[in-house]
Symmetry: C2
Subunit: 135 residues, 2 copies
């Protein structure tokens, strides 16, 4: 399969590494990486899908509930190990490293016989900053 390391593959990975805590839509990625927009959009789609498959990226639903955004979750992160909180107001993604939260998985597994897939799960809500703004 992905045996070749092409320029485009490296560009894409670099882009996410440089913006390791940010999320982007396909269009944002395309316009940031491709010279004069539009070029290579299908390649971006193809590559992104594979990166989601192999865990390099997380696929999330945007704040508006319509768009799809992607964020790096590969090496260097422990995104396969912890839960994520996503603010539905500002879009921020919070990595939740917390032993108590890990207990939840054990609890759900033991008591509800359901194996939670942390990589696919995002808890949506309102972050502290946005909470303040509303006051």
């Amino acid at each position: 399969m992905s045996m070749y390391k092409t320029k485009q593959q490296r560009q894409l990975l670099d882009f996410f590494l440089k913006n390791i805590s940010s999320q982007f839509t396909i269009n944002e990625i395309v316009s940031q990486i491709c010279p004069d927009d539009g070029a290579g959009k299908s390649t971006i789609y193809r590559r992104i899908s594979k990166m989601v498959e192999d865990g390099t990226l997380m696929k999330l639903r945007g704040e508006d509930g319509k768009s799809t955004v992607y964020q790096y979750s590969g090496e260097g992160t422990d995104c396969g190990e912890h839960f994520h909180l996503k603010c539905t107001s500002c879009g921020k993604l919070i990595h939740l490293n917390c032993s108590q939260l890990d207990d939840i998985r054990t609890h759900i597994s033991d008591d509800h016989d359901f194996t939670v897939d942390v990589k696919k799960t995002v808890l949506y809500g309102i972050c502290s900053d946005c909470k303040k703004d509303k006051e």
Copy 2:
């Protein structure tokens, strides 16, 4: 706004009430409700959006990670009060009434200063039945 109770509105609500624990894509809804398919699809879209807004329906991502499915979550359910587990293998949605899970919300709220919105959150993973099948 929604002051009129039209035939279509009632049909749609009845359909979800009759299939209170199932999920449907827009196309499935359209073909089940509309006589000879295709008819009134835009009405379905318009009405579904409103039902999601007012909490009558939950909007979920389908098993394939691409499609969007809807399930009843209005009166008679306590879907605004508990978490949901969704099996990424068979698509089943599990309503998680469990005090320990409620503690999670308190914990995240108190210790992580983040207010989880239960209605928008779904925990994805593998249910017991599908786990067995793999053995």
